[in-house]
């Protein structure tokens, strides 16, 4: 309880949003009586009402139920599309920052190569080659996304490795793995962690974009981006189909951003 009092309000709000999302993902049935895949031909394109707070789509499927059932997939996207590039990029950035020299020069050119292409274009190109689907999307995001984590990590490691506490480690004869993982990593990881949480919001948007384009989650799986894509044809007559899943994305993104910002303050090193 004391911990909660010490946490800043934005972080608490962010964590509350994420906790609600997690609850949606774990037990979607507990929040709505409707089946997200169940057709109801008596309520086609029904406007939001007490019975259907988010309205229904062209098949009479309840949009609240679909938005909630989509949470599991979107949270999975948020996690996997940041964890894999995050781990790979952190490890590469750690080694590049530490060894420097030729390794660093090669790394620089590789980064140039990847960032020359717009992120989304490169991901779409890779997914197009590998074929649509979530697993291939994670592979594509990892191939492109590690660069950003590696750059962050590299620059932080270059600062940390010149600290006198690292010199002290060397004078004490510590092994390089010990210095890298026990001393440099914990002191250099903060920007990466903060970026990762913010990146989760971007990952949801990316997953939604790819879903919208038909390259991410495949129907009939409900996914926020797919829901919006479904709603675009009815936007003039039934705007709620696209509007409510879009709002959910915004709120989820807000949850991750607030958590990321709060984490940045919380993890600040006291010197």
């Amino acid at each position: 309880m004391r911990l909660f009092k010490r946490l800043p309000a934005p972080l608490l709000l962010g964590l509350a949003i994420l906790a609600l999302m997690a609850a949606f993902a774990i037990a979607p049935g507990a929040f709505t009586p409707y089946d997200p895949l169940g057709f109801d031909f008596s309520a086609l394109l029904a406007a939001p009402s007490l019975a259907h707070p988010f309205g229904t789509d062209q098949f009479g499927r309840d949009l609240l139920a679909r938005s909630i059932s989509a949470t599991a997939i979107d949270l999975q996207i948020a996690l996997f599309a940041t964890i894999f590039p995050g781990l790979l990029g952190t490890l590469i950035g750690l080694l590049v920052g530490w060894y420097g020299g030729v390794v660093d020069a090669l790394f620089g050119r590789l980064v140039d190569l990847v960032v020359t292409f717009p992120f989304l274009v490169l991901v779409i190109a890779i997914v197009a080659v590998l074929g649509p689907g979530l697993v291939n999307m994670y592979i594509a995001v990892t191939i492109v996304g590690w660069v950003f984590y590696a750059r962050l990590m590299r620059s932080e490691v270059m600062v940390q490795k010149n600290g006198e506490y690292i010199a002290a480690c060397k004078v004490l004869g510590y092994s390089t793995p010990r210095i890298l993982f026990r001393h440099i990593l914990p002191n250099a990881i903060r920007p990466v962690l903060v970026y990762a949480v913010t990146d989760m919001a971007l990952a949801i948007l990316l997953g939604s974009s790819l879903g919208y384009l038909g390259l991410g989650a495949q129907p009939p799986e409900a996914e926020w981006g797919v829901l919006i894509a479904d709603g675009k044809n009815f936007f003039t007559t039934a705007p709620w189909i696209a509007l409510f899943p879009g709002t959910v994305i915004v709120i989820a993104g807000l949850g991750f951003s607030l958590t990321g910002d709060g984490l940045a303050d919380l993890l600040e090193v006291k010197r």
Partner: protein
């Protein structure tokens, strides 16, 4: 008998060259941080190394513990060639030669408790059995006059002086015979400086340590060292017993430094500048004796001949053509 013997070590750092310099064919420049330094450190003594900022004393210290690899020369520690050590032998050397750093704020890992920092050194070198590490950590904290409960706390909870004690305890954890202290008090308040200096002297007494104490503060040198080496622009210009050098310095640079020691009594203040001008650029040291542009007694020969560090008819070595 000497514990550490340094023979003719040099360390140069290449300066960054821009593309324009390269195209114009300008010569490669290097900072001559340490030039041809030879030095003996005797068992159980405190050797002071003094000099202005930028004279290479920290680089020399870092060469001694191999944080920098010297470009030339040799270092012997207890009969073994330090620069050739690798693997377990090098770790054994690390255990016997430790360093205390200048900045107590950056020399401790901010994410590790004091107990974890000290315990790690004990564990890596198997100084004591694992079960006894907490007890040994408490002993180390006691040795440097810190409270026992310091072990559970993080570096940011301590003051500069306390942190420096933690840094000293970390160096002592592996039970070294030689400690190289690189300006260990220059980042501290004067009142705290005295306490840390006294701690060094007390530890040396109790543990029989050999100490190399690097500083730019001549009063500290006079107070706590047995011998002193004076550095100027990467070279040692005079080395000998502290009391005798302070009584009758032989090198013009040492003479100027000692004249410049701040005097508490107004009547004893001389009012004149110690040394004229600035320290020349170590990128392009003057030919001959590096001190000649600032030397009040320089002759034509000083501009051409580099004076070696020799006895020159006195009781200790001095690098000045005019001494003797």
């Amino acid at each position: 008998m000497s514990l550490l013997s340094v023979r003719g070590i040099s360390k140069r750092f290449p300066a960054r060259r821009g593309m324009v310099d390269m195209l114009r064919g300008r010569p490669k420049l290097a900072v001559h941080a340490v030039e041809q330094v030879s030095l003996e450190v005797f068992r159980g003594e405190t050797l002071g190394i003094v000099g202005e900022s930028g004279c290479g004393k920290s680089t020399l210290a870092r060469c001694l513990v191999r944080l920098h690899e010297p470009d030339a020369g040799a270092i012997d520690f207890d009969g073994a060639d330090v620069l050739g050590l690798a693997g377990p032998e090098r770790r054994a050397f690390n255990r016997r030669v430790q360093m205390v750093f200048q900045d107590p704020y950056s020399s401790l890992n901010p994410r590790m408790t004091v107990g974890a920092t000290l315990g790690e050194a004990l564990m890596v070198h198997n100084v004591v059995p694992k079960a006894e590490i907490p007890r040994r950590v408490r002993e180390l904290l006691d040795l440097v006059h810190l409270m026992e409960n310091a072990a559970e706390r993080y570096p940011h909870e301590f003051s500069g002086g306390q942190r420096q004690r933690i840094g000293i305890a970390r160096a002592l954890a592996v039970e070294p015979s030689l400690i190289i202290a690189d300006e260990p008090v220059s980042a501290l308040d004067v009142s705290v400086q005295a306490a840390i200096v006294n701690l060094f002297m007390e530890l040396q007494d109790r543990l029989g340590l050999t100490l190399v104490f690097i500083t730019h503060d001549l009063r500290l040198v006079k107070h706590m060292t047995h011998r002193v080496a004076v550095m100027y622009l990467g070279r040692i210009v005079e080395v000998g017993p502290t009391a005798e050098i302070f009584a009758a310095p032989r090198h013009p640079y040492t003479q100027a430094l000692i004249r410049a020691v701040p005097q508490v009594k107004p009547g004893r203040r001389s009012g004149e500048a110690a040394v004229m001008g600035e320290l020349p650029s170590p990128l392009n040291p003057p030919p001959g004796c590096a001190f000649h542009p600032r030397c009040p007694v320089a002759t034509a020969a000083c501009r051409e001949t580099v004076p070696g560090l020799e006895a020159r008819g006195g009781a200790w070595d001095v690098a000045c053509l005019l001494a003797g």
